[in-house]
């Protein structure tokens, strides 16, 4: 609890608005502390999210990712509220190999998990091509389409999906042999039927 309070206090001011998000005022706001009845339940069926994003391309990526999930057949919906504890954002980190990362806060997990909030980040070291790109030892250069792939993947985690190795959105690798955004997999940046079924099996 102390940590949660500290994190709320430490959260910087929001400095960006998501684009491309349809706002449905009829949605009921997700309780800040949503109790998950079963530990296998996902975290966030209807999430209000806020953004604090440095790069306009990141804003575009998150907006496109939200739109693709909201426009899919998944029983999963995200909408924008700048006061939400749930954040989508970007960060710059050249000492890691992830291009996207999502964390989930749980207040407790005994006997079941109580979801608190999440934060999802694009790593602009990769997504803005500060890391060398364009040769087979590294990866292709990131574009709006591949940034959307990363952001949509992270929002799949928010929906409660785990990684899988097949050519679906929840493939954990953007590039490399069999990566989701390669010719091997058809440059996936939208939820595939398996991703959608994975969400709908739980909601």
């Amino acid at each position: 609890m102390t940590l949660l309070v500290a994190l709320i206090v430490a959260a910087p001011a929001h400095n960006g608005l998501l684009s491309g998000i349809s706002f449905d005022g009829a949605l009921v706001k997700l309780p800040t502390r949503r109790r998950i009845g079963s530990v296998t339940k996902p975290s966030c069926r209807r999430c209000w999210i806020a953004s604090r994003i440095g790069w306009s391309s990141s804003t575009t990526a998150w907006g496109n990712a939200v739109s693709t999930w909201n426009g899919s057949a998944a029983n999963y919906y995200l909408t924008n509220n700048q006061s939400s504890l749930n954040k989508v954002a970007d960060t710059y980190n050249s000492s890691v190999t992830w291009d996207g990362n999502t964390y989930m806060y749980y207040l407790t997990c005994s006997p079941s998990c109580v979801f608190s909030s999440f934060g999802s980040y694009l790593n602009t070291y990769f997504t803005e091509n500060h890391d060398p790109c364009g040769n087979f030892l590294t990866h292709d250069c990131y574009t709006d389409a591949s940034r959307k792939s990363v952001a949509a993947h992270e929002l799949g985690h928010v929906a409660g999906l785990a990684h899988t190795s097949s050519c679906v959105l929840m493939n954990p690798y953007t590039w490399g042999s069999g990566g989701r955004f390669t010719s091997d997999c058809g440059y996936i940046n939208v939820p595939k039927s398996d991703d959608i079924n994975g969400v709908n099996a739980q909601y």
Partner: protein
């Protein structure tokens, strides 16, 4: 087939960290702002540490590697050794994501064509850590544990500091002289492959 995340298993494992103790650094959450702060104090985390709260993380990895040749080519150094200690920890106060530096005591420098490894240890940087008794770790790339024997494919991102290439695809465990991959989505290691045999495969790749 998509599998739903199962926080119960992950959290249960995390709540009861067994095996060799992780000598962690306790990080302080330091106010507002966007700078990365270094840890200010270190406390031992006991072998059966119970964490009051869990923060699970899931990453999209920029690149994954499924064959040794490509993985080797993408690495500045490849080493075999034992996770010996926590060398440091940091907290990015903008994202609230912690990072931990581990000292790896080396048994073998498998591949180091540019001479990046000096001495018999390296510092390896990993996303995750322990913050005020809360365990943060990426699901498919769990925090190293002290005493864990590993074979690591590394990239030197600044002098003397390395990260594992390809997320969990660049990380292998050695238990009782048998090598296994940390993730089933990377290089396939045949059952009962010995450390010596795996090192020979790497050198030949």
């Amino acid at each position: 087939m998509i599998r739903a995340r199962q926080p119960s298993m992950r959290l249960a494992l995390a709540l009861l960290v067994t095996g060799t103790s992780l000598i962690g650094a306790l990080l302080g959450l330091s106010g507002c702002g966007g700078t990365t702060s270094s840890s200010t104090q270190g406390l031992p985390v006991s072998q059966d540490q119970h964490y009051s709260q869990i923060v699970s993380m899931d990453a999209s990895w920029s690149v994954g590697y499924k064959d040794l040749k490509t993985l080797k080519a993408a690495s500045t150094s490849i080493v075999a050794g034992t996770i010996a200690a926590v060398a440091g920890a940091t907290l990015d106060t903008t994202t609230n994501i912690p990072y931990t530096d581990f000292t790896v005591a080396l048994d073998t420098v498998v591949h180091d064509p540019k001479g990046r490894v000096h001495g018999m240890s390296v510092t390896v940087h990993q996303t995750g850590g322990i913050v005020n008794g809360v365990l943060y770790q990426i699901g498919d790339d769990p925090l190293f544990q002290i005493g864990e024997h590993v074979i690591l494919f590394l990239h030197e991102y600044e002098p003397g500091k390395f990260f594992v290439v390809g997320g969990p695809t660049g990380r292998f465990k050695v238990n009782s002289d048998v090598v296994s991959a940390v993730t089933p989505l990377g290089v396939s290691v045949p059952a009962a492959t010995s450390e010596a045999a795996f090192i020979a495969q790497i050198r030949a790749a």
